[in-house]
Every structure is written in structure tokens, then in C-alpha cells.
Amino acid sequence: MKNIFMRIAAAGLAAAAALTMLTACTAGSEEEERTTFSVGFDAEFPPYGYQDENGEYVGFDLSLAEEVCKRRGWELKKQPIDWNSKDMELKTGAIDCIWNGFTINGRENDYTWSTPYVDNSQVAIVRKDSGITELSDLSGKTVAVQTDSSALAAFEGDDATDENRALAESFKELQQVGDYNSAFLNLQSGAVDAVCMDIGVANYEIAARGDEFIMLDERISSEEYGVGFLRGNTELRDEVQETLIEMLDDGTFASIAEEWGLSDSVCLSADDTVTDTAKKEDVSFGKKLANISGRLVKGVGASLAIFLLTLIFSLPLGLLVAFGRMSKFKPLSALVKLYISIVRGTPLMLQLLVVFFGPNFLFGINTSASYRFYAVIIGFTLNYAAYFAEIYRSGIQAVPKGQYEACQILGYSKSQQFFRIVFPQMIKNIIPAIANEVITLVKDTSLAFAISYTEMFTLAKQVAASEATIMPLFIAGVFYYVFNFIVAFIMERIEKKLSYFR
């Protein structure tokens, strides 16, 4: 039986791999007559690329790309991407370039670049009332940066200066967040003390979010933006570069920059020449696997913690909820019913966001950094307790009425009746349903990423992004599969143990 499952799983993986290769090939062969130009960008990165109030993707970079396409006779495809997957998108040919306030510094060898067109610096934003005035004040504080962003690279990247490394060391924590919106929510709520980002973005965010925040004068680093193409794709890069210079010469570039309020940061120059320093260095497969696995181990602990704590709290809580649901006291049972229906009717991810950000939005409470983990556990527990409650309820209702009457005749108290007679029969009734939920929970732990809690899957995506390989995701997949295999095995044992009666 299990062997068959393993074989099916292996066949599935092989099919997926074959499909990936196939798409990669098709993408590669269409180089001849270019008709479309698809630009990958992070849709949450104003003013370079974002969604405006009409739902249109706009931004400085997209305007530039549009103009290039117009002049080249290409059809522009704006492709919003998950920033963590940008390399995969580029490699598979799903996008032709990354044009999105994309920092060259530190990535010189990873892509084929246009010449820099924006000079940007990394700065720190703090709450106005925080009393932080220079970078050294950030010592002992919690600082947020976007995953795989230039700010993160400035602190921890291979080319980070010793000064910045020491500064990052002095932080209480350097936290990675998925997008700037949650970074600012964290900053506002007090969960983090500073957010570091590109100056262009910083100016925009401060203008958009009012005067609650200020930017430190001191710069963390200076950096430049370019258009990134797949390493070796100089042909396309040269075409785009040529058109950009054309636009610079006739003033279109400057007017687009002005339109987006970026006149101060643009730096495109006809004198710069493109260079290609990109060269591949090979690391052995085994070494890479060991390195990646080592980096994922931390996430395993986090995922296990979410899993175990959620079970420890939600299994008993679910029983209380089930009692409330079955209570003869109507207001209580109606309230519990409402809670269950809300939990079951909305996504867990949304519930996690509400638990984490709710206290600040609703009551103005400044949440501490450690609340992030509590929020994960609270969110998961509240969610799973509702599901378990309904399972308990069905299990209790499946116990025949005659059992209760026998208890009554024999003089059992209500609690004896429940714990001695009903409970064991209920457990047997619900084991298959509980097993289903527990297996879902294993997979659901990955949803903790919604509030930037770094568990296994988040870490796998981060490592996948930094290593530009899908391997960490496969390792993560294997982890979840093995984890669930063990869970299924344990549940099977419990079921067997309870088969002594019918």
C-alpha cells in the first residue's frame, strides 16, 4: 500500500520536472522574432512598479519599459512576480527582464545589466517620536528589511561593508518582511523600530503615509538601479540599452523621471558602457545540498513548534468550544456558532493578519516583536479549535442515546457519563476526521509567512531566492511529506489501538 503511494509521488515529481523543462525549452526557442517584451516586477514597489487605485500596474520603470516597447514595436507584458521567485521566472523565460528598482550592487555577476539609470541609497525610516536620530541609535533595536532587498544585502550580503555588518550585529533583531506595507504596519504598531529601504521608496512612503515617520539623514549605503536580464542575454540587453540612450538624448527619459518625481535620483548617462563580468562558478551538488539543508534546519524547528503548540492548545479548546456550541443556554451556543462560522468562512491567512495587526489597529496597542510568534500560535489555535469543535460535536452526537440512558439508570454523574462513557466512544468516532485536520495543519504551518514568521516554507523561499535554485523548495516538500508520513503513521497506530472495541 505505502509503496504504491511512494511510487505515485515519485511519478508526480518526475512529471512536474519534465513539465518545467518543457516550458523552459519553448521559452528559449522563441528568441528569433521578438514581438512581446515581458517585464517582471514586484507590484508592491512604488513608485517603480505598483498597482494604482484603478487596479492598473504603473510606475516609473513600467513607463520606461512602455516607451522602449513603443519604439521597438514590441508588445509590453507587465508581469507582477513574487520577488522571491524572480530568478526562477527569468530562468524559465516567463519574463524577459527584471525592471523594478533593481539594485545592481552586489548582483553584478548574477545578471546581464543595462547601465545604471537610477542612483539610490539605502536609508532608515523610524517613528518620529522614537528618539532615534542616527544609525548608531539603532543598536539594540528591531530593524525590518524586505526579503532579499538591497537593504538586507547592505547589512548581510557578501559585499556588505564591515561598518554595516557591525551595525547589523548591534541590532536586537534584523527582521525580514515580505512587503513594505507590512513593514510599515509593524513600524506603526511598534513591533519594529526601523525599516530600511531605498531612498526613492522611502520618499514615496513618507509622502504617502504622512508625517508620522522620518528618515535618518545618515545613509546606510549608496547604490544604483539597472535593468536585469538573464545572464548572457546581451542581445536583448543591447537592444533595450540602445533605446534607453535614444530616450535620454531626446529628453523623454528626463520627462518620465520628472513625472514620477525621481528627477533627483536618475543617473542614466550616454557615456557609461555596459560591461559583462558575469561568469559562472560551480559548486558541487553535494556541497550545495548540505549548505541548503543546513540553512533550512532552523525553519524545521519553527514549523514543528507551530504544529505542536497549536495541537496542545486547540485540541482541549475545541472540546470547550464544542460544549459551548451544544449548550442549552441559547446566547452562548449562538455566539459559539458565530465564531465557528467566521473561522470556517474566512482564510486562515486573513485570521493571522487580524490577530497580529488587530490589537494595534483596534486598540492602538503597540505590539512587541515577540508578539509575532504568539500571534501565530493564537491564530492557529483559534482556527483549529473551531474545526476540532465541529468534529467533537459530530463525534459526541454519534454516541447512541441508549448509552446516556444506561448511564442514567446506573447513576453516573454528568461528568462520569462524559469522561467514562461518551468521551472514549467519541474519540473512536472522530479519529479519521482528526487525522485529516492534523495533516492539514502540517501543511498550514507554512501560512505563518503571512505575518512574516520565518518557518520552514518561508525560509525555503528565501534560500531559493538567494541561491536561485528550486532545490530548497523540493527539500521543503520532502520535509512536509515525511512529516505527514509520520503523522499518518501515528494516527493509524491510534486507530488500531482503538480497534479493540466496536
Binding site: A406, I409, L410, Y500, F501
Partner: protein
């Protein structure tokens, strides 16, 4: 001495009046059988007496203690402590046994004496062994209910009831769920109990059994007692047409 005195008992489910003015007694050491067509209210009567249903009116006295009496048109029950005492006077054996599936035979029998009556485990275990032997199940103590035949399960249920040392035992069609051979097993056990002067109130369709074992027979129809008396009178010489019709139907 009367162990059970039912007077003017009434019970309705919604608009349907199931018991209309039932009065009957069970004397110490007596076996009383209740006969009657389906839907006549026999089970409801037994369930009111066993306090699984709440009566609407009338009164029942158990071993001299009043379970409930009628006040201002409703049944008023005794207080909690008194009801607990009264409930220890009787036990009920169900048509479909209602054994606890997750307990072994011996645990089914001993669980309530140990945890409800708080008696010593050793003593209860010894008594349970004796009861099992008496029921012809000496070797089945560690079996689970699903491993037993219906007749064996019903004998366990009777042993479970006896282990509580009740002053009287109620049975609601204890053989209706069983095949004829298994029915004979149970009737044999009941006869033995009758010979030991166990006070019993039995709802049954087994006319021959009722005739040979009962001291008193109650015939019910449509929620009233149509006639009651010695089995020779009620079963062999019924004075009421409805009783006659019922008995005739059974014979066919």
C-alpha cells in the same frame, strides 16, 4: 409490602396523550408482566417509572418513598438527594442491551458499583465473578460486547443491573431483539430470578412465559390499563374484548 405504587399516572408527548390515568402496584417478590399491542404505551410507562421520562401527573411511590406527586396539575419530583436514593432501588434492562462497547464484560458489570456506589474493587470483582457464573458467562469476563451473541449480551446487561443490588428490576421487552433460541436463554435466567423472589416488572410479548412466571398481569391498550389480575384470569379468561382480540392475534 408494595415496592412500587403507581397512581393516576399521566404522560403526553405534545398533543398525543400516551398514558391516561395508569394505576398499578408491584408487591415485594412479585413478578408483574405488562402485555399490550404496539404503541399502547408500555415502554413509556416503564420509562416514566424508571425516570427516563418526566411524568405529567399522578404519583409513584418506590419502597415507601415518594418519587413524585401531583400538585396543581403537574408532577412535582422529590429533591435531588432523595431521587438519588430512589434510583438506587431499581434498575432497568433495555431491549437492545445498551452495554458500554469500550468496556469488557467484567468492566461493564463492575464500573458503576466501583465508581458510582464507591464500593471496594475487590469485593465488587468477586461478586461480578459470581454473577457471571450464574449467567453462564464465567469464561467471558474479558470479552468485549461486540464479541458476544445477543443472548450473551443481554445476560451481561442483566448481570450489570443485578450488580447494583436493586430492590426491583424492570425489563422492557428483554427478548424482542433476539432469535427464538436466545430468547429461551434469557427467559430461563428470568425464571431463575423469579424463583429467587427477585421483584420484577417485565414488558413482554411472551405469553407463555407471562402465564407461567407472573404473579400479576397488566394488559394495556391505548394508554389505559384495560384489565389486570392473576394470569389465569387475564390471559386464560379475559373479560375484555380488546384483551381477547390481542391474545387471539398473538396465537396466530
Amino acid at each position: 409490602m408494595e415496592l412500587l405504587e403507581v397512581k393516576n399516572l399521566r404522560k403526553s408527548f405534545g398533543d398525543l396523550q400516551v398514558l391516561k390515568d395508569i394505576s398499578m402496584n408491584v408487591g415485594e417478590g412479585q413478578v408483574v408482566s405488562i402485555l399490550g399491542p404496539s404503541g399502547s404505551g408500555k415502554s413509556t410507562l416503564l420509562r416514566c417509572i424508571s425516570m427516563l421520562e418526566t411524568a405529567d401527573g399522578g404519583s409513584i411511590v418506590y419502597c415507601g418513598k415518594t418519587g413524585f406527586t401531583e400538585k396543581d396539575g403537574t408532577a412535582v419530583y422529590a429533591d435531588k438527594a432523595e431521587l438519588k436514593e430512589i434510583k438506587s432501588y431499581f434498575s432497568l434492562v433495555f431491549q437492545n442491551f445498551n452495554l458500554f462497547p469500550h468496556y469488557s464484560v467484567i468492566k461493564n458489570i463492575t464500573d458503576a458499583p466501583i465508581h458510582v456506589m464507591k464500593r471496594s474493587k475487590d469485593e465488587v470483582m468477586k461478586e461480578a465473578e459470581v454473577l457471571l457464573k450464574k449467567m453462564g458467562l464465567a469464561d467471558k469476563g474479558n470479552y468485549y460486547p461486540y464479541q458476544l451473541s445477543g443472548g450473551q449480551q443481554q445476560r451481561v446487561a442483566i448481570a450489570r443491573a443485578l450488580a447494583m443490588k436493586p430492590k426491583m428490576l424492570f425489563f422492557d421487552e428483554p427478548t424482542s431483539a433476539l432469535d427464538p433460541e436466545l430468547t429461551a436463554e434469557i427467559l430461563k435466567v428470568l425464571k431463575e430470578l423469579a424463583a429467587e423472589k427477585m421483584t420484577m416488572l417485565i414488558v413482554t410479548h411472551e405469553i407463555d412465559f407471562a402465564r407461567s412466571v407472573s404473579d400479576h398481569v397488566v394488559f394495556m391498550d391505548g394508554g389505559v390499563i384495560v384489565e389486570q389480575g392473576k394470569p389465569q384470569d387475564v390471559i386464560d379468561n379475559p373479560s375484555n374484548d380488546r384483551t381477547r382480540a390481542f391474545l387471539k392475534k398473538l396465537e396466530q
